[in-house]
């Protein structure tokens, strides 16, 4: 598309122009600072689909000398009809003038036909000194939209709306750091409304962006599923000679293996974090999160500490019921149904009871020392035998995903992953619980799930993500 719309994001210095561009272009590598003049040159951020540009956002420096520009324009214009040409003449004449570098940078795309996205900070009072720059923008004759961005906590947006209404066709509020994805799309659609020819590419763009978001959720679920499979089936191994086996204290060996086992699990979890962040194009996040670790030797999974990861004993009991029932149904199948379905019932009760009574404590992966073979013994630690561990990892992963998927690229704050405080997983449907539990059981036995099971597992995780999203939505 040769005539893809271009939108120049312009305004007073330090009002969040780059933040708006960073969020809409999903780019967290744009320099954003509470310092005027962070942006010195215009920079184009095209949205392309298969190499075809649908629209381009242009980040620009802020106005530095708007009254002087306006004075020049006034002095060189005869009538309203020549105003756009006069602005173009100003840019041509002052291109090399260091006093007007910023003005030329921001006016050049408008002269070339870009639409105007004028950004103001709605958290500070309206100031009449913006009128000169708004007048210049009106002189360009380009379609325009004003964005009230809020950098600080105060709200002066009503006063801004009244003032901006005199200069701009459309006025929208948009918090570049906190706006939801739906608001991004809505804003882009509003860009499309500025000129009839822009409606179609912007509609297409929002369609692609919405699809991309859906696909990312599915991909994130797959990444989490793969990590869970790895973590739940991981076994730490050490090969010992006969001498080493006799000399080594079993307890010390168990400690060494346990430490390596945790280290590996933490590393795997971190890899998952980075993968999910990169999937959502967040490459510069600083994260703060409690480490995946036993708080004290054996009691991480006591009811209290488990609750903070959103896994309740009741949930585990119901998940256990599902898994047990599946096992029990196998008994029915083997007896050609002559057990009249009691297999499923017994299996379910056993599974539930096991999870309930067993739920107080995590069954640690035990140290196993194998038989002597070729003069060597193999000591193993893991895989973890308690599925609660998997639910904790799942809870943490889903929480991280949620924060990442809802984080705008203008955000520069540290990502603080505080533990969830509710049993959100209880809202997960029974089938998804069973699918998750089934894969956990396979991993525990070091049996690799087949491709079909993996697909079902990832779908169940995606469902858990939806449940978490709903829970967050209803909570906030």
């Amino acid at each position: 598309m040769d005539n893809a719309p271009v939108f120049a994001v312009v305004g007073h210095p330090n009002k969040g122009k780059s933040s708006v561009v960073a969020t809409l272009s999903q780019n967290d590598a744009i320099a954003i600072a509470l310092e005027p003049g962070t942006t010195r040159q215009r920079q184009a951020y095209p949205l392309t689909v298969d190499g075809r540009t649908l629209y381009t956002l242009v980040d620009t420096p802020g106005f530095q000398r708007p009254r002087r520009v306006l004075e020049w324009l006034d002095a060189h214009s005869v009538s309203a009809s020549d105003r756009a040409e006069t602005v173009a003449a100003f840019v041509t004449q002052h291109r090399d003038d260091p006093r007007f570098t910023d003005e030329c940078e921001l006016l050049a795309p408008l002269v070339e036909g870009a639409g105007i996205i004028y950004v103001v900070d709605g958290s500070v009072p309206y100031s009449a000194e913006h009128e000169a720059e708004m007048t210049i923008l009106r002189w360009t004759g380009r379609p325009s939209l004003a964005l009230i961005n809020s950098i600080g906590p105060d709200d002066y947006s009503t006063a801004w709306q009244a003032a901006l209404g005199q200069f701009f066709q459309v006025i929208r509020k948009f918090d570049a750091v906190r706006a939801h994805f739906e608001q991004h799309l809505s804003l882009l659609r509003a860009f499309g409304q500025l000129e009839p020819a822009w409606e179609s590419p912007l509609d297409q763009a929002t369609g692609f962006l919405a699809d991309q978001r859906r696909q990312r959720k599915t991909q994130a679920a797959r990444l989490i599923a793969k990590a869970l499979e790895d973590i739940m089936s991981y076994q730490e191994k050490r090969t010992l000679t006969t001498n080493q086996a006799t000399e080594t204290n079993e307890r010390a060996l168990a400690d060494t293996l346990r430490r390596s086992w945790y280290q590996h699990q933490r590393r795997r979890e971190q890899t998952l974090r980075v993968s999910v962040e990169h999937l959502y194009q967040h490459k510069r996040i600083q994260r703060q999160e409690a480490e995946l670790e036993w708080h004290s030797d054996h009691d991480l999974f006591s009811e209290d500490s488990r609750r903070v990861w959103a896994v309740s004993r009741r949930y585990l009991a119901t998940a256990g019921f599902g898994a047990g029932a599946v096992g029990g149904a196998g008994i029915d199948a083997l007896t050609f149904g002559s057990s009249l379905g009691t297999g499923a019932l017994v299996g379910g009760i056993l599974g539930a009871a096991g999870s309930y009574f067993y739920g107080d404590r995590l069954a640690l992966p035990a140290l196993k020392i194998g038989a002597l073979q070729d003069g060597l013994k193999t000591a193993t630690f893991g895989p973890v035998q308690d599925s609660q561990f998997g639910y904790v990892v799942l809870g943490r992963a889903v929480d991280h995903w949620w924060h990442i998927s809802h984080r705008n690229h203008a955000g520069r704050d540290q990502l603080d992953l505080a533990p969830a405080d509710s049993h959100w997983l209880e809202n997960l449907d029974r089938k998804s619980r069973q699918d998750i539990q089934r894969v956990f059981n396979r991993c525990r036995k070091r049996r690799t799930p087949d491709d079909r099971q993996r697909v079902v597992f990832a779908a169940a995780i995606e469902q858990a993500m939806t449940v978490y999203d709903d829970w967050r939505l209803n909570r906030t």
Binding site: G37, D50, V124, A128, Q219
Partner: protein, 467 residues
Amino acid sequence: MTDTAIRLLLEFDDKVRRDHEQPPAFLHRRDRKYALDCQQRDMTPSPGHWLAHLERLSGQGGESVADAALGTWRRIMTGFILAGCALGVLTMLGLLFYEGGQRINVTVILAFVFLQCLLAGFTTLQAFAGWQPWRPLLTRFADQKSPAALGKLQPQLMARAAHIGGLAFGTCGLLTLLVMVVVQDLAFGWSTTLNTDSHRFLGLVQTIAAPWQWLWPGAVPDASLVETTRFFRAQTGNLTLNPARLGDWWPFVAMVWTFYVLLPRLVLAVIANGHLQLKARRLLNRHPGLTALQYRMETPALETGNAHNDAQHQPDTSTNSQLKPLPESDTVICWAGAGEPELPDALNGPDTLVLRAGGRASLQDDTLTLEKAANHLAHITRPAVIVVTRSWEPPTGELQDFLQHARELWPPTSHVAVVPLTTSGQEEPPTHQVQQWLRFTERLGTDFACVSLPPLFPQNPYRQGEL
């Protein structure tokens, strides 16, 4: 016997495995571009073509993973063929062992052929059921860890190797039989402990010979042959029998061997190969990597404009300048609406000259303000001017121009204190806002301007007294 499907599966699996290291965005772009190229050329993308496309771009490099993995199985198959040949010769020699006293028992040969059929059937069943009872052996002796995708084909690969080995066994057995027929006079007979008569045995052999009855009638034993060639081990001799009749069994034996050892193995080897190729194709079609590839090829590659990276180019926010005490001054200039609606009392004395510039004022108004201030300052020995600004608004080029112009107009000893005010004017502005003004005066590069904080609102002494 080509292994195109297996080779494709292995190459594809290996490529997918190597792609794990690549960023998903890159993979998406690469495969989407390939799909669009195919679309332009009216071609349907396929895994084979995709691999060829990537290989063409990367160039051929060393032994492929498929060659290495299939090489192991080729060696296993060669082993089976060699063993089959050797065993075929030895087995036939054993079956035809004739020390002159006893005849070669056709019943034993039939039993052995039946065993061969059973073994061939079991091998096929094993492949279809996916059993791998020989797996520990393979794990122990295999050169290297085979690719995971090949692991799923092992039952079929093993069945094919076994059937081809069986085919070699049968072929060499048949050739040995024919050689023995030529170089020796073989005396066949039939014998059994069971109390059966020759009619029933005739029925059995004629049923067995039914498949080639139309092809080679001479290879179907007749009643007289069956009747005359029965022998008992305890029997000392049959003088009435023509010894040449004893050799008449060989066409039957040769055909039994051909039809019940050689042909089943041939057919089952073909089936095993077909099954292997089918399974490889099915595995490829269900490969998670193929689903991902199809997704990448079908989904448009969306770039949101995140290629540009200037995160390293953050502005220098270090500040060397310090806040200066607010100078004694009776001249205050409110810049761009600062101090509206009213100045803090501490700045606005009864004799204070309050002027306005910037913001809504025109440039001519600014000049007038400067001139008025210049006139006022001309009569003061240590002239100082307070320029109040809105602390939250960034300093712009216009203020810079204004101060430079002021420096030119005002007496040389005069200086300016920039005082950033908050919205209420009653409290100190936050540090980050003060810092931007400090850096602004620093950039001006002279001592003409400095930054001072507004005087805090004085406490009400009467109120203090109340407390």
